[in-house]
């Protein structure tokens, strides 16, 4: 699997995030290439989700920079943006480890809400919407079509009018990805999308991720514990442990890296001291 080199989409430089005395991310630097799948792995509590939270504006990093080379807006500094602007302007969109859907709303409504900004603009402060003017009607129709397209692609069409919260876990994961795609992401950040999926569902996820990246050119940043997913789809993997990047490379390289094996399998006392 060799691909032509591409430009860097996101570059994380010297990122540090401290909570009181706890350093969750410690001087982390990372490059995310455009149009590729970048995997982030690491033991529990390594700081992976914290990285996502910094990236998507939910946390303000203590120090460090997050530069996004946006294809149409030029360079953007994510650390300076509030979370809603990260999604709206920088088009960096995420999913959550513990699925955050709008549970009482239907699947379709979830996907329409994701297109809020486009629709809100079309509704002209709700005035055009209130009187159902043609411009708004067209925008609403487009939004539904777009949602229907993603529902079709993710095999969710038959569930479109069900309350999202009532559906099984695996399906909710898919809905969350579909919803994120409706925001029209440049960079899609998936936080453990395979958690709780059965092997068949995982395989489908693999296929989906490759399609998004290969056919649509959406860059994906993927936190995942399921090695059958990460190792199969990632072009590049970064390994984090205790908030630091301990290794980086192709899946093959990472798999055989002694540091990574140590971080995952633990180590004997003496070896640990020797390594330190």
């Amino acid at each position: 699997m060799s691909k032509t080199p591409t430009s860097t989409l996101l570059s994380v430089r010297n990122l540090t995030m401290r909570f009181g005395g706890l350093t969750a991310i410690d001087d982390l630097s990372l490059e995310v290439p455009a149009g590729r799948i970048t995997g982030i792995i690491g033991p529990n509590g390594a700081g992976k989700t914290t990285l996502f939270n910094c990236l998507t504006g939910f946390y303000k990093p203590t120090t460090g920079t997050l530069r996004l080379a946006h294809p149409s807006h030029g360079e953007m500094r994510l650390e300076a943006l509030p979370s809603h602007r990260v999604a709206r302007d920088a088009q960096v969109v995420r999913t959550f480890q513990n699925i955050r859907l709008f549970p009482k709303m239907t699947v379709l409504e979830n996907l329409i809400v994701a297109q809020h900004n486009v629709l809100q603009r079309a509704s002209k402060f709700s005035i055009a919407g209130l009187f159902s003017l043609p411009g708004y009607r067209q925008a609403e129709k487009n939004a539904i079509e777009r949602a229907a397209m993603w529902l079709e692609r993710l095999k969710l069409t038959h569930l479109a009018d069900h309350a999202a919260g009532d559906l099984p876990y695996g399906i909710q994961r898919r809905i969350e990805i579909a919803r994120a795609l409706c925001v029209d992401p440049v960079l899609l950040c998936l936080d453990e999308p395979a958690a709780g999926l059965n092997p068949r569902e995982s395989a489908e996820l693999n296929e989906l991720l490759l399609y998004l990246c290969g056919e649509l050119g959406i860059a994906i940043l993927l936190i995942e514990h399921d090695m059958s997913v990460v190792m199969n789809v990632s072009d590049h993997i970064g390994v984090i442990s205790y908030g630091r990047k301990i290794a980086e490379g192709t899946p093959e390289q990472v798999k055989n890296d002694p540091q990574v094996i140590k971080a995952y399998l633990g180590e004997d006392e003496e070896e640990g001291e020797a390594a330190a």
Partner: protein, 304 residues
Amino acid sequence: MAYALQQLINGLTLGAMYGLIAIGYTMVYGIIGMINFAHGDIFMVSAFIAVTAFTILAAADVTSIPLALTFVLIVSIFFTSAYGWAVERTAYRPLRGSTRLAPLISAIGMSIFLQNAVQLTQGARVKPIPPVLEGGVVLWDAPGFTVQIGWSQMLIIVTTVVLMLAFTWMITQTPFGRQQRACEQDRTMASLLGVNVDRTISFTFMLGAALAAVAGVMVTVYYGVVDFFIGFLAGIKAFTAAVLGGIGSLPGAMLGGLLIGLIESFWAAYLWAEYKDVATFGILCLVLMLRPSGLLGRPEVEKV
């Protein structure tokens, strides 16, 4: 200066009472995350029980003040705890695990119910009792103004301090306190580890009611009048105190209570007495804007 000192004493007295009520709010909030809107009315019920108890003692010609106070406290605490228990059992427990607003509405209904029940059974008129503790100690005989701390004020402040100490000991040192804190942090986990969650919650309500009962007795002694509407404002102020201190935090509730008491008495003394409630709420808004989780509340890191 002398005047200010007097306001300080008055404010502390008032604040101690708010603090006692506020603890009930903060504990219940800590353990089941709801505003027990009927708590102010539980306090009001306790004040009525105290009035009845004092009247019975007067009829029985009991003149020993310590004896009378002890009797009234015990009676009031007993019955008020029963009320606390019953309110939780009927209006809140069936709603555990439903939406966040359901128990709040139920609590507001309970508050209206208690107010009207007391109005119906005890009458709408103000109930005055003869002064229980008169006089006090003159602290400072400044020219033109005498600073005095009343016996009843001393009683209130000392009782509150003692109760706070006992309470802190109970929460930090006893098995009940441990279970209470466990339920507060993770109810499901606590129940898996064998903590009887229902009983712990019931007990928390009774404890909150008991403290409100003490406050009720103190108010009766201090002001000498009680009516069925006192629960509303006292409840709101005490809740404000709990929020101000950081809801869920016991020392915070006491601190908040003292601050509200002080703000109120100084504002009323130096500025406009009629706007003292505006000051209370205004300061609450300010504090919350600057420190959304209250003074001693743990700032909540947004869990994503």
